[in-house]
């Protein structure tokens, strides 16, 4: 399947990845050839085949619903990783 430049720009926005005009040209070529390669799977008859969920068949995993305290050091590291904070809160651009 051939992607247009506009397709590539749309996908980049959906993926939340900013790309330059030169990158649009590059990814148009790369992604189109990858998608063409994926067409190979259409040859395979998968009628009645159940798709894989968990590969070794693990189901119904439970754990106790208990809060665990994180150390103050750990909390500090988490907050230090965040670009912009104020009074112990994460600061973000307004969404609306």
């Amino acid at each position: 399947m051939e992607l247009t430049k506009d397709d590539v720009r749309d996908i980049a926005t959906l993926a939340r990845v900013g790309i330059t005009d030169e990158e649009v040209v590059l990814y148009q070529k790369d992604m189109s050839s990858a998608l063409k390669y994926f067409d190979k799977l259409q040859e395979v008859d998968t009628e009645g085949v159940e798709e894989i969920g968990h590969i070794t068949g693990v189901t119904d995993v439970y754990r106790s619903d208990k809060m665990q305290e994180m150390s103050d050091d750990g909390k500090k590291i988490i907050m230090d990783n965040i670009a912009d904070t104020r009074d112990g809160y994460i600061k973000v651009k307004s969404v609306l």
Binding site: G18, D30, A34, Y37, I52, H54, T56, K93
Partner: protein, 475 residues
């Protein structure tokens, strides 16, 4: 090697501090050129080593891993230590907790020397996708070490550490092990906890050991494997003392050679080395059986749909808010902030895969790509179920060629993806697989290592470890 060093520590012939200093000396001497490490942890490593020496002095019992220098791929969280996944977006990220594999080896008093280089977010087969520059193959520095766990493999191959951990989503432990002459094991999916390991393709990722000998891989696996409540996908079956299964006897074992792995694309010299290894197994008393895995030709397409889909979903968290610092340009809206941070923070291969994955999961295409791929994956798994009715192990080359030159494949993503052709099937089927050195090929005057891959039944790590060990001690 681990057992020898352990005995020397216990007998007092060597101290853990001496071993750690030797490790840092080797890093100092070699790593400027080889670039296995992204972070070296000298201070904490020496503290860990001193603690082990104190235990030995008091005649306390120590674990086999205690006091031995090891390295971790830089996609595993270690409290208070930078964990970058070789991405610019995590350049300043410090992990607030230990991955389960890390807390397990810390409990055993392993000495963590540093964090190793990889392809960004473990996406690649050469370390050329690292945002911090590639690692080099210690056997021929004009060649790639393989990837994505290239740094961990180089650290072991060049004696900077005794053992290392890598991760393997489509061959990232086994292929570099083949290129650098180490042993690399990808366990059964779920055998080892993924908690605290930066996720790439969550239904495929596994952590595993990289070592000099098969027995060492067994020793490390025994200590990192087993159920973890913090990883819901980890398997319920208990871990075992895998090293006890390395008995060095194979008589009567049935080894399948799949014809699909010996066809077009396999280098002639690599094939010749592989066929000698098959002969060796015959001499050791194994029965060699020709088998077929008919859906092999669809494995790369299947893998390169499933993995980018899962990657794009896993990497959505790198939003420039909780991870990844604000850039110098001040964006006006949240969307602009996302586009800017991720556009600048991700390298070209990550962008390519995240976009492919986003496309494959988007409305209208999900059935044609992701769902179809998960169905073909079921058929690939079925191939292995059928073959394991007839044989105990499947034996193949690990990679279609020896280590390639830097730059040889960077311009052609599909060509790069095809070098995973023999390794992705084990991840898709969830089975354990190990790469062991089986010989060398002479290219431009250098003896480049060649790996052979043993694949086993689900949760039969002990079987492939013994088969690998038996080969190793007889060659």
């Amino acid at each position: 090697m681990i057992k020898d060093l352990h005995n020397k520590l216990v007998s007092g012939e060597l101290s853990a501090v001496e071993l750690a200093k030797k490790s840092f000396g080797t890093i100092e001497q070699k790593d400027e050129e080889l670039h296995a490490f992204l972070t070296v942890m000298e201070e904490s490593a020496l503290r860990q080593a001193e603690a082990v020496d104190a235990k030995i002095k008091k005649s306390e019992k120590i674990d086999l891993l205690a006091g031995l220098p090891c390295a971790l791929k830089d996609n595993m969280c270690v409290t208070g230590v930078k964990t970058t996944a070789a991405s610019k977006i995590l350049e300043n990220y410090v992990a607030p907790y230990d991955a389960t594999v890390v807390s397990r080896i810390k409990e055993n008093d392993a000495v963590i020397v540093g964090k190793t280089n990889l392809d960004e977010f473990a996406c690649g087969g050469s370390t050329e996708n690292s945002a911090y520059g590639p690692s080099k193959n210690p056997i021929d520095t004009t060649r790639v070490p393989g990837g994505s766990s290239g740094g961990s493999v180089v650290a072991v191959a060049s004696d900077e550490v005794v053992w290392a951990l890598g991760t393997d989503t489509g061959g990232s432990i086994r292929q570099p092990s083949s290129f650098c002459g180490t042993v690399g094991l990808k366990p059964t999916y779920g055998r080892v906890s993924r908690y605290g390991v930066i996720a790439m393709g969550s239904s495929l990722d596994q952590v595993g050991p990289i070592t000099k000998t098969v027995e060492d891989a067994a020793i490390v696996l025994s200590r990192i494997s087993g159920r973890d409540e913090l990883d819901a996908t980890s398997a319920h079956s208990g871990n075992k003392p895998y090293e006890d299964y390395c008995v060095g006897e194979l008589k009567g074992a049935k080894i399948g050679i799949p014809k699909e792995y010996l066809g077009e694309g396999l280098d002639d010299d690599v094939k010749a080395v592989f066929m000698q290894a098959v002969e060796k197994y015959k001499e050791l008393g194994a029965e060699i059986v020709d088998v077929s895995l008919p859906h092999t030709e669809y494995a790369i397409a299947t893998y390169y749909i499933i993995m980018p889909s899962e990657l794009s979903s896993n990497l959505a968290r790198y939003d420039g808010i909780r991870y990844g610092g604000a850039e110098d340009v001040e964006p006006q809206t949240v969307l602009e902030q996302y586009l800017d941070t991720r556009g600048k923070g991700f390298g070209p291969e990550i962008k390519r895969r995240v976009m492919l994955g986003t496309y494959a999961l988007s409305a209208g295409y999900y059935d044609a790509y992701y769902k179809k791929a998960q169905k073909v994956r079921a058929l690939i798994k079925k191939d292995f179920e059928d073959v394991f009715e007839k044989v105990d192990y499947v034996f193949t080359p690990t990679a279609p060629e020896a280590a390639f030159k830097f730059g040889a494949k960077v311009d052609d993503p599909i060509k790069m993806y095809l070098s995973d052709i023999y390794t992705v099937t084990a991840n898709l089927a969830g089975i354990p697989a190990i790469s062991i050195p089986i010989g060398t090929v002479d290219i431009e005057g250098k003896n480049l290592p060649v790996g052979g891959q043993l694949m086993g039944k689900w949760f039969d790590e002990e079987g492939i470890l013994n088969a690998g060990h038996t080969f190793e001690i007889n060659s």
